[in-house]
Symmetry: C2
Subunit: 409 residues, 2 copies
């Protein structure tokens, strides 16, 4: 990292004094119309957040807006088109509000811009110290010589800065130094980040790192690279659909994973992390994941809860990825702790795991009002839950609908 | 806030190059012994975290160690005594490691100190802009003239800085400006913080604030103070044990609460927040709570999950409180989002709600191995779950044990 100048270090905020307008129903109804036009799961609050971000960041690219709002890029693009059709956003890109758009924002009482996000850490809670700039540079070089990301299994490499920040999170949370670290999948090469940081600091920061991954290419790259770095890295080739080999059970002090971005992927990889940890409460699991809609995130967090893991930290834009367009290139980083009821109940897994597997599957939804179960997806009467919501429950006419399991193929 | 000098703004970290020692079993067993001596629910990892914090911060007060590790002050004090008895920590206060203690830390591979926590925001993700220093000063004065904290109902006032940071979190997350804000309990006077921030910035940042609280003194203080500040504050005197009055249902865009620090308190106040929000996903609820053990936090987060709320942010030391010794004066701040399955199922509540109510109650635990239900607490065979754990399940001899509901009085 280039050392920052003092004025960049300071917070910065733009405060625009608001002209106040009484709230009018038509302004609210624009939000509802736009949300319905793109069948936005986040509803009018989602449209509101895009307008606020436009007001604050304009001119802003779709990707920047995606990052600010947590909405996926294609959704932001669709919203942008709807706002453009209504003359609220400029035809010229990057987008900004038209005069009519600015007027709408003012009528919604949102004509105030104040972003207090810390500019030193960009809201990430921690900062790479200068002494580790060298580690960032070296990791960047190691990434270039390593295997490319395999998009079909949801791989997407995090940046060298993110790798170092993950190591710092381990140290800052007190999970390291010392003890043993288990990596459940490591196409991100966090094992090498731990080794390089140790090398730069003059000695290993961990007793041992164990990497479990399905890819011989990745494990080979890690083994070859780690040879001269002074950190013991054990590599185990293993398909994580199967439980961890017995000799890895109950042995590690802390685990980290960046699983496939589906609830099934989260449950599976976190289950393997739990299998590998020493029993007992207060062991750390660090979990990276991509932004999803609130309903999809509820599913993921239910899996976390069912494993008996509890949240102890959650940074929204912690992880930055190279070339991952859909999510705007960022993802969250969640610090989990084990409890006395933490346990893995996950046997061998044979269902769909990756985003690509799931697009062709149906999912069962339960009507919250009458408990009817309704299939949604390709080949079903409703191909999306938005469509189901529009029609209402076929049994009682109401809703809402809770997502359940994928229908077996 | 006093503007910080550039070198205070910069990150700071102390890196001590580690002498490396091979890991030895005796060092590990000290951790186990100390954890068992104080029946530490967090086990050896908890002892590890205190030793790491001592290594990093020494000399450090019990309160500072509590804050760094997330363990309650009495627990840290007990751990300190055990470490002192073993000659690992100095008799003199504030505490530091003795030579034997430093040697233990080195043998555990923990002789490296690197705290990358951002020094600009202290890991809180956001910073109070200078333009709002005046708001902090004015709120400090308003606190002095307001009602004192009632400790018997778990009141403990957050600092003026915390109040302003909560308002900034609402703005930064895009929940404000605009729309209506619902405060479920407001002895913290967040309503006045919203009004004062609006006044300082030149216009209200919200259409309306609704405060629901049981205390006429607090509501009166808010009404009188808000009169000249330009923000519409509606106050409703109401016992939150009962569902919200019908006219408040489904009306608000965003809610905030700092409930009693029990799972029952969390569920109850969050249920009332949910009742007051407009239906649909992606509405924000901001939730403040005190540090508990992982097992207790799992209970709280299960309540959150059962309400259909999903985590979108979690800052560990966000909230600072005046005169709240037990938790080291800090608490976390969790940003929750509604989903399509968010709903309150909480009717009238008559059980114990506050920390003080609960100390005299038994709780039912379920053995994870055989499903036996065992009562724990005053008057029961086991007065603490640590004691039950030590003996093992009376039916199958195993465990672990999952916490259930309090036993009705």
């Amino acid at each position: 990292m280039v050392p920052e100048s003092p004025d960049q270090l300071a917070w910065s905020s733009i405060v625009t004094n608001a002209r106040r307008h009484p709230r009018s129903t038509p302004a609210d109804s624009v939000l509802t119309e736009v949300a319905e036009a793109v069948r936005l799961q986040e509803g009018p609050p989602g449209v509101r957040s895009v307008l606020r971000a436009l007001r604050r960041l304009a001119p802003a690219s779709t990707k920047e807006l995606s990052r600010a709002t947590g909405l996926p890029v294609p959704i932001v693009a669709a919203l942008g088109n709807e706002l453009r059709r209504r003359g609220l956003v400029t035809e010229a890109r990057p987008s900004r509000l038209t005069e009519a758009g600015a007027d709408l924002v003012a009528r919604l009482g949102m004509d105030l811009v104040l972003d207090a996000t810390c500019r030193t850490c960009d809201g990430r809670e921690l900062v790479i110290p200068e002494v580790l700039d060298e580690a960032v540079t070296r990791l960047r070089a190691l990434m270039e010589s390593g295997p490319a990301a395999d998009m079909t299994i949801d791989q997407s490499h995090c940046t060298a800065e993110t790798k170092v920040r993950r190591v710092l999170a381990l140290l800052t949370a007190g999970a390291l130094p010392g003890g043993s670290l288990l990596l459940i999948g490591d196409d991100d090469l966090v094992s090498l980040a731990v080794a390089v940081v140790g090398d730069v600091l003059g000695g290993p920061i961990v007793e041992q790192v164990t990497v479990v991954d399905i890819s011989p290419e990745i494990l080979d790259h890690i083994q070859k690279t780690a040879a001269g770095l002074g950190t013991r890295i054990e590599t185990v080739q293993h398909d994580l659909r199967r439980p961890l080999p017995a000799e890895l059970h109950g042995r590690h002090d802390v685990a980290m994973t960046d699983p496939p971005y589906t609830p099934e992927g989260a449950r599976l990889f976190l289950s393997r992390a739990v299998e590998g940890l020493r029993p007992g409460p207060a062991h750390s699991v660090f979990f990276s994941f991509g932004g999803k809609s609130p309903d999809e995130m509820l599913e993921v967090q239910r899996e976390i809860m069912e494993l008996g893991l509890v949240t102890n930290g959650y940074v929204r834009n912690f992880n930055e990825y190279e070339g991952s367009g859909i999510l705007g290139g960022v993802g969250f980083f969640q610090h989990l702790l084990t409890t006395t009821s933490t346990a893995s109940r996950q046997g061998e897994f044979s269902g769909p795991l990756y985003t690509g597997d799931k697009r062709t599957r149906q999912r069962e939804y339960t009507c919250a009002a009458c408990d009817a179960r309704i299939r949604v997806g390709p080949g079903a009467r409703w191909t999306s839950v938005a469509a189901l919501r529009e029609d209402g429950c076929p049994q009682c006419g109401k809703g809402p609908f809770r997502p359940g399991r994928l229908v077996p193929a």
